[in-house]
């Protein structure tokens, strides 16, 4: 795993999932997805808009919180990122807590916009660095937003891929399950199986996740690092030693 940082690998993996997206929206506290969106913007041959919720920079701003959800409702957002304290094999996500609702053993913050955006944004990328049987579970304790819906439910959007610090899964919507797409360099299939609480499809050959090439790394360390320093100064400084412009 030499030559690039683990964050750079994750950014590169996510960015490849964003090909063809014209408008990518990024939630709060999401520097890696945000960097991936900016990398997509820097490498795409057509204009890509990146919106970052809560950003102060005009370029990243949405027209307010209501506008973000309304835009998604209209289909004006092509990709978004969600995470989960728990994610299960049907791509249900749980942002609420562990145990029996409502007096949960562990209470997290809440579902935020997931129960709308997961339905309306065509490509939702699930991103959770921690890949353990604690996070990747057979069945979530609380469904903040379901991974799939019956045919009669209006749902233009849904899960597309799941990126962790071990691997990339793609979600097979018709079969409502994840398929292992690639293993990050140095990770074994057994390691993923041992750390995953749900069943998933394993192709006969599982390739290694493609590492970012030199051109991408250079873009990341210059253009992307500079831009992401605006909404996420601490991240840019920690990963790339870059300070936000005054």
């Amino acid at each position: 795993m030499s030559g690039y940082r683990s964050e750079e690998l994750l950014i590169s993996v996510i960015s490849r999932l964003l090909a063809d997206c014209g408008h990518i929206a990024v939630g709060v506290s999401s520097p890696i997805p945000g960097s991936a969106a900016l990398l997509t913007q820097a490498t795409s041959d057509r204009p890509v808009r990146v919106s970052v919720i809560g950003a102060e920079t005009p370029e990243f701003r949405t027209d307010g919180g209501v506008d973000l959800f309304d835009s998604a409702g209209q289909g004006r957002i092509d990709a978004f990122f969600l995470s989960g304290g728990q994610i299960d094999g049907e791509a249900n996500i749980n942002l609420v807590g562990i145990g029996d609702y409502p007096e949960m053993k562990v209470r997290w913050s809440g579902s935020f916009g997931s129960a709308h955006l997961y339905f309306m944004v065509p490509k939702v990328i699930l991103f959770r660095e921690e890949h353990t049987t604690r996070t990747m579970v057979d069945k979530v304790d609380f469904i903040s937003a379901p991974g799939w819906s019956p045919d009669n439910v209006h749902r233009p959007g849904g899960p597309y891929g799941l990126v962790t610090n071990l691997c990339l899964f793609m979600f097979d919507r018709p079969n409502r399950r994840f398929r292992l797409e690639s293993l990050h360099p140095g990770v074994t299939l057994e390691e993923v199986q041992d750390n995953t609480g749900f069943n998933f499809e394993i192709p006969e050959v599982v390739p290694e996740t493609q590492a970012p090439d030199q051109a991408k790394l250079e873009l990341l360390r210059s253009t992307v690092a500079q831009k992401i320093a605006d909404p996420y100064p601490k991240f840019a400084e920690r990963v790339w030693g870059v300070k936000a412009a005054a």
């Binding site: 959800f69 409502p102 007096e103 913050s109 809440g110 579902s111 469904i143 379901p146 019956p150 009669n152």
Partner: protein
């Protein structure tokens, strides 16, 4: 008619919040922490807090201080600083009724109230445990389904707060409030019976007469009272004015990790010397 709307201090504003009131608070950048501290001093009880659509320090402090009976929220979080300590404790101890929502449902419910309609439909939610635990959310059939088949859609009922609490950069003696870019504050204000405003400073003249400021003004019709509270968002930031004070927020989180620590924090920052200049008795505030 122009002056009685500006009250002498946050205690006088807090006096207008009754026990059991349904109170709307905004997620960030416009959070009236000084007014929140005044509510704790007043000892208000049984609030139904609606977070628009999430909250952090303000909700957590009010919960820790025992002011809140119910919270209707899409998230209570100290964001990059971590989980909200008093909120987490209250949920576990069943001392807080929680109505979990999702951000656009909160906005939609306020917009229904704003328009005076019983509900506005919203996509999503179907199949979630949010919907399963919100018996007040009803699912109806979309009458405009092109296929004529069944197309369930959730009808979000109107949320009508008794009062919304807002910290803003500017207000004027006519009762107008300039909110800047946070357009959602207008929705909050329109949906609520009245809004109580703290502001950094009073604007000389009428905000509605400045063509650049007028578009972002909550007009006096929606405003129940205004008090000046300089740096009234502290330790949170106010968009366009000042940033969060991360050390003070971290100190809160560390203190509030235990009930005792939280009481110490209250003693210092709400009842004690840290809040001395705001400690005017409510009676004197009339």
């Amino acid at each position: 008619m122009t002056n009685q709307i500006v009250l002498p201090d946050v205690e006088a504003l807090a006096a207008r919040v009754a026990d059991g009131a349904k109170v709307a608070v905004f997620k960030d950048g416009a959070v009236p922490m000084d007014l929140g501290r005044a509510l704790v001093r007043k000892g208000v009880r049984g609030l139904h807090v609606v977070t628009v659509p999430t909250s952090g320090l303000l909700a957590d402090m009010l919960i820790g201080a025992g002011c809140v009976a119910t919270i209707e929220t899409s998230g209570v979080t100290m964001s990059e600083f971590g989980q909200a300590p008093c909120f987490g404790r209250a949920v576990k101890s069943s001392s807080l009724k929680i109505m979990d929502a999702t951000c656009p449902a909160v906005y939609t419910g306020l917009q229904a109230a704003e328009k005076g309609v019983p509900f506005i439909p919203m996509r999503g939610l179907i199949g979630s445990d949010i919907l399963a635990n919100r018996p007040d959310f009803k699912t109806i059939d979309n009458p405009y389904d092109a296929d004529g088949g069944d197309d369930p859609i959730v009808a979000i009922p109107a949320i009508r707060p008794d009062v919304s609490l807002i910290h803003a950069p500017l207000a004027d003696a006519f009762g107008n409030v300039w909110i800047g870019r946070q357009a959602e504050l207008k929705i909050m204000a329109h949906a609520s019976a009245e809004s109580l405003i703290t502001c950094e400073r009073l604007y000389e003249g009428n905000l509605l007469e400045d063509p650049h400021l007028a578009p972002a003004v909550i007009p006096s019709m929606y405003v129940g009272g205004i008090a000046v509270a300089e740096r009234g968002g502290w330790p949170l930031g106010l968009t366009g004015e000042y940033d969060d004070d991360p050390d003070a927020i971290l100190a809160y989180i560390q203190a509030a990790a235990t009930p005792e620590g939280f009481q110490d924090w209250l003693a210092e920052h709400v009842f004690g010397s840290g809040a001395a200049d705001a400690r005017v008795p409510a009676q004197a505030a009339e």
